[in-house]
C-alpha cells in the first residue's frame, strides 16, 4: 500500500471516530434539552419542590447544587493545590512518591456509593455532622482531590524547566519562582481540572444520598446568618441537590408530574454545567492574560 493511500485511510478512520463521539454527545445533549426545555419556566426555577402535588419547582435543589460546588471547592482546592505543588516541584522521584501517586489514582476510582457510605458512617454518624451540605462537601472532596491534584501537578510539570532555571539564576527562591513564574503559566490547565471536578460535583448522586441527604427543608434566602438553621447559607442543613432530586423523583416520586420535573431538572443541570464551564474558561483566560501580559 502506498503511503498516500495509507494516509487517506488513517485520516478517514480518525474523522469517523471523532464523528461518532460528536454524534453521541449531540444526541444526548439534544435529547435532554429538547425533552426538558419545554418544562422549564420561571415558576419552575423559583418555586419549592412538592412531594405529592403537581407544579413543584427546583429552586432549593438548584441553589444547593451550586452551594455544594462552592463549599467543595473551598475545601478541596487548597489541599489539591498544596499537594499538586508538592508532587510537581518538591517531591523526590522515588518509590514513596510513586506510592502516593498510585494512592491518589486509586482514590479517584473508588465507587461513589462506597465513599458515600464511608462518609455517612464517619462524618454523619461518628462526628455527628448529620445529613448536611458540609458532610456532602467532604464526601465530594474525596472525588475532587484526585482530579484536581492530578491536573494541578500535570500543568505545573508541563512548564519547561528553563523557566525554573531562569528564576533561580535571578536569585529568586524556589517558592517565589513557583508562585510568580510557573503558576501563571499553569492556570489554563488548572482551570480545566476545576471544570472536570465541578462536573463530577454537579452530577454526583449516590455519595450525596448518604451525606447531604434527600430532603430540602424550607430555607430563607433573606437570612444571611450562616449559623441560623433556616438560612440558605447554613452548611449544616440537609440539602438535596439537583442530581439527587432527579434520582428521587424517578425512583420514589409520587407527584403526578414526576417525569416532567425530571426532564426539566436534567435540562437545567446541563445548562448550569455549560454555563459554569464557559464561565470558568472565560475567567481562566482573563486571569492568564492578565498575569502573562498576553492578549
Amino acid at each position: 500500500m502506498n503511503p498516500k493511500i495509507a494516509n487517506k485511510i488513517a485520516d478517514a478512520v480518525i474523522y469517523i471516530l471523532v464523528a461518532i463521539v460528536v454524534i453521541i454527545l449531540a444526541l444526548l445533549i439534544g435529547f435532554i434539552l429538547i425533552t426538558g426545555i419545554p418544562h422549564i419556566s420561571w415558576h419552575f426555577l423559583t418555586s419549592v419542590s412538592q412531594s405529592f402535588s403537581a407544579g413543584g419547582g427546583i429552586r432549593d435543589q438548584l441553589f444547593n447544587s451550586i452551594y455544594l460546588l462552592i463549599l467543595t471547592l473551598i475545601i478541596s482546592f487548597p489541599i489539591a493545590l498544596g499537594s499538586g505543588i508538592y508532587l510537581a516541584e518538591y517531591a523526590p522521584k522515588n518509590w514513596f512518591t510513586s506510592l502516593i501517586q498510585t494512592a491518589i489514582e486509586v482514590l479517584s476510582s473508588l465507587p461513589s456509593i462506597i465513599v458515600g457510605l464511608f462518609c455517612y458512617l464517619l462524618f454523619v454518624i461518628e462526628f455527628q455532622l448529620g445529613f448536611s451540605i458540609l458532610s456532602g462537601a467532604i464526601a465530594l472532596t474525596f472525588f475532587n482531590l484526585p482530579l484536581l491534584t492530578r491536573s494541578i501537578q500535570e500543568s505545573l510539570e508541563s512548564v519547561p524547566d528553563l523557566q525554573r532555571q531562569a528564576g533561580a539564576s535571578l536569585g529568586l527562591s524556589r517558592w517565589k519562582t513557583i508562585t510568580g513564574i510557573i503558576f501563571p503559566i499553569a492556570i489554563p490547565g488548572i482551570i480545566t481540572g476545576i471544570i472536570l471536578s465541578a462536573g463530577r460535583v454537579f452530577g454526583e448522586a449516590a455519595a450525596l444520598i448518604y451525606t447531604a441527604g434527600e430532603s430540602a427543608p424550607a430555607i430563607s434566602y433573606s437570612n444571611f446568618n450562616p449559623f441560623n438553621p433556616a438560612s440558605f447559607l447554613n452548611p449544616m442543613r440537609p440539602a438535596e441537590t439537583l442530581a439527587v432530586h432527579i434520582w428521587k423523583v424517578n425512583t420514589e416520586g409520587v407527584t403526578p408530574d414526576a417525569s416532567q420535573i425530571s426532564s426539566g431538572s436534567s435540562a437545567v443541570l446541563i445548562i448550569v454545567i455549560l454555563i459554569f464551564n464557559l464561565g470558568a474558561h472565560y475567567l481562566g483566560k482573563h486571569l492568564y492574560d492578565k498575569m502573562t501580559a498576553s492578549k
Binding site: P160, L162, A166, S169, L170, G171, G180, P184, A293, S294
Partner: protein, 266 residues
C-alpha cells in the same frame, strides 16, 4: 567518535596580574559516583571576556554552572570559588544573594511568560526594589545595555513571548544585567540563534564588558576568537589550557588544544 588519548597532566595555565573577579580552586563535580569534572583552577579577570571552549561533554557547561551554584540540586561540587574574598561554594553562603551578584544567560532564550517590562522588574521587585521611577529607569538602562531598547520601547507591556529568538535572548541578557551583577555567566548564548542575531549578541557583549566580567561557554571557535580576551580549553572534564585568546588560537602550548583548534581532534 572516539577522542585521541591526551595526557591530562599536559596542561598550561598562563597567569596575568590583572584584577580578578572570580577565582576557583580545585573544583570537582560529582554526579553520584561519577566524577564529572576535575581540578578546576581558573581565574577570571575583571571586565574581561573569558571564553570556555571544548567539545560536547568537555565539562565546560558543568563547570560554568558551579560558579553561581546552579548545580546545587543535581551534583556535588567541592573546592573553593573565591568572590570578593569569600568562598561562595560554602554551604552557609546565601545562594540567592550569590546569584544576584553573578547573573546567568542560558543556551535557549527563556523569557518569562510576562510582559517585556515585567521580565525585567519581577526579580528586582522580589529583591526589594519598589520605587516605580527607579524600576522604569532600570528597565530602560538594561534594555539599552542589551541593545534592545529601540526595538521594544513602544511595546514594553506586550508579552515577551512575542519577541523573536534573538530579541528574546537579548531580553534575557537585559533581565540579567538589570540586577546589576558583577559577573555574567553565559552558557552558549548564541548557539540557538541565526547569524544576524548572533552578531547582535556579540556586539552587545563587547559593549557590556566595560561594566561586567563575562564568562562565556561556546562551541563556536570563531566566536571565541572574535569576542574574548582570554580562553580556556576544556576536554573530558578537565581544563587543560588557559591563556590570552590570540595565543590559544595561534600558538597553543598543549597538544590537545592545538588539535582541537586545528580540527585534528578525535
Amino acid at each position: 567518535m572516539a577522542f585521541k588519548d591526551y595526557d591530562f597532566n599536559d596542561t598550561y595555565f598562563a597567569t596575568f596580574d590583572d584584577e580578578k573577579a572570580l577565582v576557583t580552586k580545585d573544583i570537582q563535580v560529582y554526579y553520584g559516583d561519577n566524577h564529572a569534572f576535575h581540578d578546576g583552577n581558573l581565574s577570571f579577570s575583571r571586565n574581561k571576556i573569558t571564553a570556555l571552549i571544548g567539545a560536547s561533554g568537555s565539562g565546560k557547561s558543568t563547570y560554568l554552572r558551579c560558579l553561581n551554584r546552579m548545580n546545587d540540586d543535581v551534583a556535588r561540587v567541592t573546592g573553593q570559588i573565591m568572590y570578593r574574598g569569600m568562598n561562595i561554594n560554602s554551604s552557609d553562603v546565601n545562594v540567592y544573594e550569590v546569584r544576584s551578584h553573578i547573573g546567568m544567560v542560558f543556551q535557549r532564550p527563556n523569557p518569562f511568560a510576562k510582559s517585556i517590562r515585567e521580565n525585567i522588574t519581577f526579580a528586582l521587585k522580589q529583591h526589594g526594589l519598589k520605587n516605580k521611577s527607579e524600576l522604569d529607569k532600570r528597565v530602560e538602562e538594561s534594555l539599552r545595555g542589551a541593545s534592545l531598547w529601540d526595538e521594544v520601547k513602544d511595546r514594553l507591556d506586550k508579552s515577551a513571548l512575542s519577541l523573536s529568538g534573538g530579541q528574546a535572548q537579548r531580553l534575557c541578557i537585559a533581565r540579567a544585567i538589570a540586577m546589576k551583577p558583577d559577573i555574567l555567566l553565559m552558557d552558549e548564548p548564541a548557539s540557538a540563534l541565526d547569524p544576524i542575531s548572533t552578531k547582535n549578541i556579540e556586539n552587545t557583549l563587547n559593549q557590556l564588558k566595560k561594566d561586567y566580567t563575562i564568562i562565556i561557554v561556546t562551541h563556536n571557535m570563531q566566536q571565541a576568537s572574535r569576542i574574548s580576551d582570554y580562553t580556556s580549553f576544556f576536554h573530558l572534564g578537565h581544563a587543560l589550557e588557559f591563556d590570552r585568546t590570540e595565543r590559544i588560537f595561534t600558538n597553543p602550548h598543549v597538544k590537545a588544544t592545538e588539535d582541537y583548534i586545528s580540527g585534528n581532534f578525535g
